[in-house]
Amino acid sequence: MTRARNELRLLAFLMLLFLLCPAAPGQSLRLPPHEKFVLKNGLTVLLLEKRGVPLISIFAIVKTGAAADPTGEEGLASVTAALLRKGTKNRTAQQFSADLDYIGGSFSADAGADFTAISAEFLTKDLARGLELFSDAVLHPTFPQSETDKILAQSLDGVKAAKDEPNSVLGLYYAGYLYGAHSYGRPSDGDEVSLKRIQRDAITKCYEANYAPGDTILGVAGEFDAAEMRKKLEETLGAWPARSVPNMAIPAAAPAKGKKLLLIDKPDATQTYFAIGNIGTAANDPDRVAIRVVNTIFGGRFTSELNEALRVESGYTYGASSFFDSRKAPGPFGIFSFTKNETTTPAIDLALQVLEKLHKNGVTEEQLKSAKSYIKGQFPPTIETSGQLARRIVVNEFYGLNDDEVNQLEARVDAVTPAIAKQVIEKHFPLDNLVFVLIGKASAVGPAVKKYADKVDGRSITEPGFWPPPAAPK
């Protein structure tokens, strides 16, 4: 690399920061202009030029995710993604890392429930090398047996390591207990049993079946010339043989009826971690903006009703919140917090009271006004960088949403009234049908928490898998 060039780039970067025009007051935030086209092989491309920082961010979605993992082989899509950089037609895993690290680049790939996400970032001056590396991993992985064995064994230990921190596995137990056999209930990174079942053969088949240009959305954002970028993409990813694969279908899961509780025993825990809720909403739910406004009030910020009650007023916890994990099909909704063993039931009681209060009282004009300001005021830094922008336009495209998600956000937020909020609460926030998942010291908290549900289940955190308990390996 040339030093002088870098210095010039830096200078240009700093000057640009200085010269950027002020945002006109009152003008609402808009996504920077971007273009969409489809390469001859069917690859959907979104390009967004963003000047000022000499970086290029790539975010790609392969439209098949962990939800398509065969039952008993959970983790297959994740392991497949992790192996993309671990040996290609042109490079060993070590060579790939050496080439990537030399330019200070990044590359990562992981499968969530709905899709597999592949992201990369490098300096604009390294565009040719960066794109070549990205294409090499996505188009030409060879899945060497030795690297496959390594990734599978590491993933398995990764599950064990996660179980040492209740915080990091609560969501997995919660999803499993909430969704049961539905694909959203299964751990996307696998568990101690499923990872032992996965063979290299299944991985190569997973790649061959799911990685296809017709099934992929590629977003590139950052400092580049769009025409030049298009040419470069045609030269690299354009070489991916045309193919399309059937869309992964995910049925909507039926919300849980009644009340049930799962207690995961961690005998050394001094604090109980809990999640309470039911199945929530899909990413394209027409009520999504109103839900966001109401959830901001309920559990989505520091002064939310949940945090006010459980932290500020009572000191039960360091934090209490609620979330909607919105996906292709309705994803989980949950209230999340933790508290010392002795205050487990008072804290859960209080969380339930806050939920009941939301249903009973709805939200006030004043709360709405505050939440609207908060959402609008906190939004701009979420579309500040090329990495954030690349991700946002690609995820929108995947869920069939458009630029109005950003460009109309302020107007949509402002349109929410107490009456709309009331409807949203009734429709989307559970009340009588609730699933409880707790990780804690069962001998200390077990007897008291039985009161929350008619059906109570339990197992030890050290037992393999999450929920439901995995079938024993054949």
Binding site: E7, L10, Y102, I103, T270, Q378, E384
Partner: protein
């Protein structure tokens, strides 16, 4: 997830390598930061950037757990929480409610060295934020009821990040063993018994000691002009009287004369190894060479330690190194999580062997060049958001003594030679200078006996 930050709400923020990573090869002095020192001694740094209609405001107070005493450990961190619990104009709970209702959010964190307050808000909330900040710097109140409930909140934070977090637990034990004299030996969160026992008077004393405007640096980046910030400072901040800063921390940690070892037995699926080496304070000439060394050993999957421990020998799930920005000589901590069934000492042995290699022969030209390329990319990554810039500028100003070093670092980095890297490896990474902390799964340990 190895770097644990103690603060108001859970956030993982900069570590010293983040600071290190913002080095860049540039001679440029064009960086449009304007500074002014107020009459009460607070230094204000402003960088206008109008790309989004938002502002990031940081206030760094030079007070942390290093300024504490036995019996009241954790007070700085607890005090940080109390700074949100009511002042004269904005009473208990008002600060957050008013700030969020105006589109803003906030957080704070405490380290051994500093207590840092952060506000992120739309430009429309600018004067309100100054009103809030001046209110709590000048007229903080101490409501006994709030103290009682906040004590519980902090205890919960401790249970989250220490008692129920094996990395946090082992890290605490490591510092307590590596330092026998200097105040870095106790946890930022404080020992639980101290959390339970400090008094209102302790809190008041802490406020008087640490929260003088002259003991603070303010950094503002975003949709503002320097002039309007200075005017707001004149109106809201400058009238706040200054007073004496905390007494200097004069204790110097004596040289470590031999390896120290400790073991923690805890129910766990996997063990952990942490090795702490005493290294220089942040504002030291060795800083740059240490960072190159760290990059060669730990950065990326092509780094020597990753290649050896994670990839080739498959001894560890992960291996990393961290150093916090520090006013006094501190610890560089290497953390490895052994794979299941791997003896933690096998990880140790591999780490020591790799350290011996960098002491015995110069790193390659390619490795040196790679480390420098990584500095450049990370500089851009950090500097591309208003928040990242406020944090980086402030961290340089406070820990390096002058934000200009952000640019001098260019020269300092190009001056680093392979011999320098070898020299700092030899100087700091010897057996006598290390403390080794191992967490062993309790059940496994029982089975062995």
């Amino acid at each position: 997830m190895k770097t644990i930050r103690y603060g108001r709400t859970a956030l993982l923020l900069l570590c010293a390598w983040g600071l290190a990573s913002s080095e860049v090869r540039a001679q440029s002095q064009e960086f449009p930061v304007t500074t002014r020192t107020l009459k009460n001694g607070m230094k204000v740094l402003v960088q206008p950037d109008h790309s989004i209609p938002n502002v990031a405001l940081y206030i760094f107070y030079r007070i942390g757990s290093r300024n504490e005493r036995p019996g009241t450990t954790g007070l700085s961190h607890f005090f940080e929480h109390m700074m949100f619990n009511g002042a004269k104009k904005y009473g208990p709970g008002d600060l957050d409610k008013v700030m969020e209702a105006n589109g803003g959010s906030n957080n704070a964190y405490t380290t051994q060295n500093v207590t840092v307050y952060q506000d992120w808000f739309p430009r429309s909330a600018l004067s309100l934020i100054y009103d809030i900040e001046s209110d709590r710097i000048r007229d903080l109140t101490f409501d006994p009821k709030k103290i009682a409930s906040e004590r519980e909140v902090v205890a919960s934070e401790r249970r989250l990040s220490v008692d129920n977090n094996n990395f946090g637990l082992l890290d605490e034990q490591l510092w307590a063993s590596a330092f026998i004299a200097h105040t870095y030996q106790w946890p930022v969160l404080g020992w639980m018994s101290d959390i339970e026992h400090w008094t209102m008077d302790d809190l008041k004393h802490h406020f008087e000691m640490g929260y003088s405007p002259g003991n603070a640096t303010m950094v503002v980046v975003g949709d503002v002009s320097s002039e309007e910030i200075f005017q707001l400072c004149e109106k809201y901040i400058e009238p706040i009287p200054t007073h004496a800063p905390p007494p200097p921390v004069t204790t110097v940690e004596p040289e470590q004369l031999g390896e120290r070892r400790l073991v923690v037995h805890k129910p766990a699926e996997l063990p952990i190894v942490m090795i702490g080496y005493h290294v220089s304070e942040t504002n030291n000439a060795d800083f740059y060479a240490l960072n190159i060394l760290r990059s060669v050993l730990f950065q990326g999957e092509s780094s020597r330690m990753y290649q050896r421990l994670v990839d080739k020998d498959q001894l560890a799930l992960d291996v990393s190194a961290d150093v916090e920005p520090a006013f006094d000589p501190t610890l560089a901590i290497i953390t490895a999580q052994p794979r299941q069934g791997v003896d933690p000492q096998a990880c140790e042995k591999a780490i020591y062997e790799e350290l011996e290699k960098v002491k015995g022969a110069p790193i390659s030209d390619q490795e040196l060049e790679k480390a420098k390329n990584n500095r450049l990319v990370e500089f851009y990554r950090q500097m591309r958001t208003i928040n990242g810039r406020a944090n980086t500028i402030g961290t340089y100003e406070v820990f390096m003594g002058d934000y200009h070093k952000l640019f001098d670092a260019a020269k300092s980095y190009s001056a680093v030679t392979k011999e320098d890297v070898e020299r700092v490896a030899k100087k700091y990474f010897g057996a006598n200078n290390r403390t080794v902390a191992t967490l062993l799964p309790a059940d496994e340990e029982k089975a062995k006996q």
